[in-house]
Structures are given as C-alpha cells and as structure tokens.
Symmetry: C2
Subunit: 453 residues, 2 copies
C-alpha cells in the first residue's frame, strides 16, 4: 500500500489526512503533540476566556477509527531522502512513498535582544497557558504589593498590530474590566495600562483603511493605548525600549510581532527555503527535486496563482492563513491520489474567502475578497459563528458556545486558574522558602529552539 507520511497536525496536515481517509493509501500523521490546536482562539486561553481543552482536540479522537490512518507521537528530526524515511527522535525512521510537510510556523523575534527570553509569544497551547498564568499571577502580585505602580507590574504591552495583537489587546481590556467588576482586588485595577505597539502607522495592515481605523477607535474607546510607528529595540526582565528612546517598565510583553518558519521542522529537512525560512515549492505544491514530496500551509512559500486573490507586488506567495493551509492540505492529498492514477498534477489555486479579526465583545471586522467590510456586532457574530464551525469536535463547539454565551450574558469570568503552580517573584526582600521552586513555573522559559526539533 502506498505510504503517505504527514508531518504536523495543524490545519493543513489535518485537511490532508481527512482527504485521504478511506482511500487506498496508508497515512501516518506525525506530531510532537497529541492534539490539534485551534490557533485562532489561543488568545482566549491566554486571557482566561476559554480552557485549553476547548481549543485543542486529540488527534487520535479524529482518526482512531479510520483504518488507513495511524498517528505517531514523536518529534521530527529530519528526512533521509536516500532511504525515503522521516527521521524522528524516538523510533528512527518512518518510511514513506509520499511526504507532506505541514509543520507550520513559529513566533519570529527578528533577533531583537531579549525578545525571545522576556516576551510571551502566542503560538502554541503552552504559550497561551504560560501567558495566562503569568498575567493572573502578576495581578495577584500587584494585589500583594504595597505599591503596584512602581515596577511596571500594571503595564501590559502587546507588540504587533496584526490580528493576534488586536485580539489579545482587546481581550486584556475585557479581562481588566471583568476583574474590576468581580475580583475584589485591593489595588486599583483601573490603573492597569494596556499598550499596543506597532511599527506601522495603522492596525491590521492586510485590511482596508476603514477597518483599521474602526479597530483603532474601538480599542482606544476600551482604554488601550496605541503607539504607532515605533519599533521595539530591546526587552529585559524589567521592561522594553523603543527605537525612539522611550522606555516602558513592564513585566508582561505579549509578542505578536510575526511568524517565521526558521527554527522549525521545515528547516531540518534539507530543502531550499525562501523568505522567512519557508520551503520553496512549485505551483503544484511539490518540493523541487524531491519526488513525491509536498509542502503546504505556513511552512511553504506557495506561489500565489490566484483565482480570486490578488498577488501583492512584493510577495507573490500565499499569505500564512488557516484557509491557505486547509486548501493546500487538501490539494496536496489530491495530488498524491492523482499521481497514483498517473494523472497530471494541477497548479494550486488559493480561493480567498476573506479575512477577519475580532476586537472584543460585540466588535469585529471581516473583509471580503472584493473589499466589502463588515464591522461591529454583525462582524462579531459572523466571527463567532465561523470560529464555531471550524472548531474541531462537537463537544468543543458546544462547550465554547456555552462559555461564550455565559460570559456574554453574565459578564462573568472564565477559567481563571493559575495552574502552572506559578508564583511571582517575592516582593521586596522576602526570601523564597525552600521547596518553593516548581518545575511548572512558567518563568522557567524554554531554551532557544534548535533547528533540528
């Protein structure tokens, strides 16, 4: 039986595996996590709106019953193109006849000093939980502090004015508002500042100007400070410095500054890469020079051969969006089926369905390919509906719907647990008692990612 190996169970890898379910090939899905992450809602986990389990779905629960699909829980270390096997850290090689690389992207820190060590990216479930624990623990630390204003404890900075940055900033404002109503802190939480920093002069640059200014006005009305046209120069444990010399004391920098494929599995497979480390692929998604190998989604620099989408002049490749991953995943799966039948491999066309970003309660923007923009409550309802549709698993849909409805009606709080055992650094000179150290402490940050993992 023809053996297909799919690296990664994100939107792209899942779409490919689903297309191959109950076909005449054998599929092995390889991922170093045992679950699919619904990345568009990670910001809600990070701001204590949803639980981890609501935005993640076990891969075995999707394919356990499919006779031709196996799941392999492992970290990928490379590809042996000679022997045609995928190399993994615990079991050696997994032989393949066709390979789909769908390993996604990760946060890009652009070599800004301190960004990796001292900011909180938002790209994996662990990122989201770490940020949540940190934000909640910081509020508790402020509550125990005689003077929470002094060391920037109450300054929350978001770097990046794309969809993720806008969503996190909006959700932090909501968290602040809910805390003010419900949490009974002894300090004045209205003094908490949320600052969004972006090098551009507007938010949401892929959107039209009207959507950007709507988002900006909404955020400002909700108390968020927007600092445009300034770049982050460096970040330390005490705060950050901007290129114009401004410094901000803060313990919380959320990094929504962009994504890169550098340092991910795609970098370890030994094939040519383009801007941002993305794998070079032909318009039919094949990897040049490697027979039967495909790259899709965020991991690939897919030439933009538009049906509807207009290629930008600077970067005639598909944007790194869930829709591109889903469509290219399905296309790659179909290419494999076609090549088994000896058919030609058609070019991949990205069908642009539009883009969306939510700003918070009753506020979102959606932009259709032809340029129409929906704003406000209607945009927000569309956003809610679409995200429920794409969320994997009926139970998850139901629970998320209940949580959203509950929070909307009650202005109540979500799952506000500091589960990592995180505790803030002692205030003043108070010594940490022995036994206080906890391996789950999120302040123990990950070492720099090795390209091989």
């Amino acid at each position: 039986m023809h053996r297909v190996v799919i690296v990664g169970a994100g939107f792209g890898g899942l779409a490919a595996a689903r297309r191959l379910r109950n076909t005449a090939v054998h599929v092995t899905v390889v991922d170093q996590r045992n679950f699919h992450t619904f990345q568009p809602l990670l910001y809600e986990v990070a701001t204590a709106g949803l639980e981890s389990g609501d935005v993640a779905y076990p891969i075995r629960s999707m394919f356990g019953k499919a006779d031709n699909i196996d799941f392999h829980y492992d970290a990928v270390t490379g590809v042996d193109w000679e022997q045609r096997q995928l190399l993994t850290s615990s079991t050696g090689g997994i032989p393949f006849d066709s390979l789909i690389v769908a390993s996604g992207a990760t946060a890009a820190f652009f070599r800004i000093p301190g960004a990796h060590e001292f900011s909180y990216p938002l790209y994996t479930l662990t990122d989201a939980r770490t940020l949540r624990d940190h934000v909640l623990a910081t509020l508790e630390a402020a509550d125990n502090s005689p003077d929470p204003d002094t060391n920037g404890m109450l300054n929350f900075v978001v770097v990046g004015g794309g969809a993720t940055g806008v969503e996190v900033a909006g959700a932090l404002a909501e968290l602040k508002d809910i805390s003010r109503r419900h949490d009974g802190f002894r300090f004045d939480i209205t003094k908490a500042r949320i600052i969004l920093i972006d090098g551009e002069e507007r938010l949401l640059t892929p959107f039209k100007e009207s959507a950007s200014s709507y988002a900006a006005h909404t955020l400002e009305r909700r108390g968020i400070e927007l600092w445009f046209g300034r770049m982050v120069k460096s970040i330390t444990s005490e705060g950050l410095e901007l290129d114009d010399g401004t410094t901000v004391a803060t313990q919380t920098v959320v990094w929504a500054g962009g994504v890169t494929v550098e340092g991910t599995v795609a970098a370890a497979i030994g094939c040519p890469t383009a801007r941002g480390g993305r794998l070079v692929v032909n318009p039919d998604l094949t990897i040049p020079g490697q027979h039967g190998a495909y790259a899709i989604g965020d991991a690939a620099a897919i030439p933009l051969v538009a049906k509807k989408a207009e290629p930008s002049e600077n970067d005639p490749t598909c944007p790194q969006l869930a829709q591109v991953a889903i469509q290219s995943g399905k296309h790659a799966a179909e290419q494999i089926l076609r090549s088994l039948k000896g058919e030609e491999l058609p070019v991949f066309h990205y069908f642009d369905k539009g883009i969306m970003a939510t700003i918070g309660r009753k506020a979102a923007v959606a932009q259709f390919p032809k340029g129409q923009v929906i704003k406000g409550t209607l945009g927000w309802l569309s956003w809610l509906g679409l995200h429920l549709v794409y969320l994997v698993g009926f139970r998850n849909k139901l629970v998320v719907l209940i949580n959203w409805t509950w929070r909307y009606l009650s202005w109540g709080s979500g799952p506000r647990l500091i589960v990592s055992g995180a505790r803030y650094a002692p205030v003043g000179d108070a010594a940490e008692p022995p036994g206080f150290a906890d391996p789950y402490d999120p302040h123990l940050r990950l070492p720099p990612v090795d390209p091989a993992t």
Copy 2:
C-alpha cells in the same frame, strides 16, 4: 473590625468563609493557589475524563463581590503568635484577631523508598494533570515501541484500595476500554494490565463487607487484578517490589496509599500535633493554648463527639472527609461570631451523612450511617447527583454534566491532551535532540516538600 484569617481554600476554608460572608468581621482567605480544587473528581482529570477547569474554581470568583472578604495569594510559612500575624513568603505578616487553619493534608508515602520520587500521588490539580500526561504519554510510547511488553510500559499499578484507589483503577479500566474502541493504537492495548495493591484483605475498609465485595467483583469483572494483603516495599523508575518479594515492572505507580498532615502548613505553625501530624484541637475546634485560633478539616485531629457517627475504638477522631471539613469549617466560623458576642463555644458534632465511592460506569457504592448500602446503577446515579451538587460554580456543574452525558452516551473520550509538553524517554538508543527538554516535563518531579511551605 475583627480580622479573621483563613488558611486554605479547600472544603473547610470555603465553608468557613461562606459562613462569614456579610457578617461584621473582615475575612482574608490565604491560599498558595488561586482556586479551590474539588478533590473528589481529581481522578477524572487524571484519567482524561474531565478538564482541569471543570474541577477547580477561582477563589476570587466566589468572594470578589463580598465586601468583607479578601483573597490573598501567597504561600504560608508560619505564624507569629506573639504579634498575632500569619507569616507568608511574599508579603510578611497578615495580622489576625482570629485564625482558622484549614490547610488540609497531602499524600503520605510512609517513608517507603522511592515512593515519593517514582509514584504519582493524586492530591492536587497538578498531581492529576501530571498523572494524566504521564499515562497518555506512556500509551504513545508503547505505540512507538517495537515491544511494549518488555519494560512494564503496559503495567499500571494503583497502590491503595480506599476510595481514591478504587476510583482510579476503575477509571483506568474505562480509559483502556475507550482507547481500544477509539484510539487506533498499533499495539494491542488489551494487553495493558491494571493492578490494585492493598495491605488489607479487602477494598474500601470503612464500608461494610458487602460493599467491599461488590466493589471487588465489579473491578475484577472489568479486568483489574486485585492483590490483597501485600505491602509495597520499594519503588524505582523501573517498577516496584512487594514485601513478599514479588516484583512488578512498571512505569506508572499511582499512589493512593493515604494522607498525612506532616510536611504541610499545619506543621509550620508551631502547635502540638497528633497522629499523622494533625493539629491537636479541643472538642470546640480551638487550638489549645492559643486564644482565637481554630483548626478544622483534614488538618485537625478533631475529637469525635458523635451525633450519629460511631467513634472507632482505635481513633476517636473525625475521619478525614469532605463532610467533616465542611461542617467543622462552618462551626469554626460560628464560634468566632459567638465569641464576639461573648457566648459560650459549643462542642463540634460531626453529622455523619454516609460515605460513597464510585467504581466506574454504572457502578458505585454508598453507605448510610445506619449501615444500609446502595450499589450499582442507583448508587452511581446518587454519586453523580451528589457530586454535581457539591461542585462549585454553575458553569462547572453544567459542563461536567454535559461531559458525563456525552461520554456515557457516546462511549467517547474526554480531554485527551498531553499538555505538559511531556514526551516519554526515547526508546532504545535514540538520542534526545537538543532543545527537546521542556520545563513543563512532568518527569521533573517536585523536590521533597519542606515543612515550611
């Protein structure tokens, strides 16, 4: 205003705080976690039946709106009885006029070599999540192993035949069954063994013989091996040894062997302790020799002055049960109100409402104080209903009810996420690539608990 400080937000501490809500005292609840844990359902988190957020509830969400109750997130290090203040690790002293020690208990390892290092207790939310991640990662490791039988990967051992041990063993059997139906493992999961070990000759010793034998028959019918009359001699990373010389190769020993107050906050407050480290209290719950100080729940050796419960000859103190904690917490709160009015402090009477244990799907036992026993489906439904009633938070009740119904009807799986980033040790000689280490790895176990924390 009279200042009451409550140490711990378990069943006892919460009951005390609730009784004092909107009274003429000021209350500070101190806990090193920002949430209450519903311990009776931790075993469901550990066996991937429920999410963390379903069995935990943020303390601020309970008391944030109560004007006279503050929450203080901190680790307690001791009590300064001279200055009458509670000592904490980050803010120094919290002054009190009355103190309620409700710091609970922790797992007792009875100085069995290796038990602390190599077994998985089930007493905190972190314990439950660590065990879940370990069990799921072990199954994945077995799936990637050429011979999962050899190193005991498929042997799951539960030590202790009390309610927790029976519940975990039953839930593991259910997990095995669900995995067989849904998960599509490449290895034969029916070969997984679940072994329950207890030094007694029967399960659930506080129950009548008929309940014990019903539990034993049910577990055996579900494939669990019961090893009675044998004690654990030592545990290593490779398995455990019993007192009769038997060895079992295993990577998973669940520790349900009992609880102790030694090594908890109660040990650090400088007052006399009884068996198991419990604080000595008078029958009115006051701590002898300390004016205005009370100890309740698991942390205290409360003399059993029965209304209905019969004192056992060996240990005329209240059992360490949720009901005792709730009732004694309420009583301690009322004692404070009484003493403010100059009233006498009546003795605490434990009102025995009976005991329950669940064995799994459609099987539980409940025993009333007079000795009547309910078994089977009716017992199970009572168990479900009562646990929903006592679970804190409407959202949690609703979500748990949905999850239970969902799993019952679909035989589907729960939240099967390995969220810690845990990955098993590489099989064979495969080296761990750099960057593989993860601070969230549950194999990084906590250091031995210092009494001061």
